[in-house]
């Protein structure tokens, strides 16, 4: 199974998580988002960028609580709250945003 990004293919697993983390590009994120029926806006990108930075530093996806705290800091409490995160990513900020950010499926996320 693979995503198609301008003619190049990027392998993913049966749930849509890419298999080689270094394959990730912004264009790929757009393709995954489309497959997830998400129209990426500035707020989606803020979440995706935070996830990638956090993973780079700790080699793990953050706890949802940590994600929300950080978004609250950078974009304000109207956006940095649990309810709004689920509006941005209806299938869960951890699961869906990690997929778009090209990270492995979060630990403990069934």
């Amino acid at each position: 199974m693979a995503y198609d990004v301008n003619g190049t293919t990027v392998e993913h697993d049966e749930e849509g998580y890419i298999t080689t983390l270094s394959d990730w590009t912004k264009e790929l994120a757009g393709v995954i988002a489309t497959a997830e029926e998400i129209d990426m806006n500035e707020e989606h990108w803020a979440v995706v960028n935070f996830l990638r930075e956090y993973y780079e530093e700790y080699q793990i996806a953050p706890a949802v609580r940590v994600l929300i705290k950080s978004i609250k800091k950078s974009m304000g409490p109207e956006i940095g709250n649990n309810k709004y995160m689920y509006e941005l990513f209806p299938y869960g900020p951890a699961k869906q945003a990690c997929k778009i950010a090209g990270l492995p499926k979060p630990t403990g996320c069934v």
Partner: protein, 135 residues
Amino acid sequence: MSETKKFLYVNRKAPYGTIYALEALEVVLIGAAFEQDVSLAFLDDGVFQLTKGQNTNGIGIKNFSPTFRALGDFEVTKLFVEKESLEERGLTADDLQEIMYEDEDDDWEEKPSIKLVSRAEMADVMADQDVVLSF
């Protein structure tokens, strides 16, 4: 929710070469979601898991040591390290990476998660638990 229990995850093995260290960390992270009172103990070769400057390029395995620094975000803030195990391996506290957490009850002040304890104190830590899981 049911009452909180005290869980201790005991790490005795070196970080690479076997899967124990990584699996223990994964279990800790999964368990953290259940809001129990979680502590980690590092003794014997387990103290090597916390050393700084790890580089796994030569063995083709992911260096998961940075993940220990994220434990505070999961409210895992007690990492007991046995002094004697460090000394027997020629290590000191300075060889370990700095792992901090923000104390919610103290205006989010940054505090160190690693606590050096003697072998005798480690026995007390273990005796004080409801559940001890050994890796």
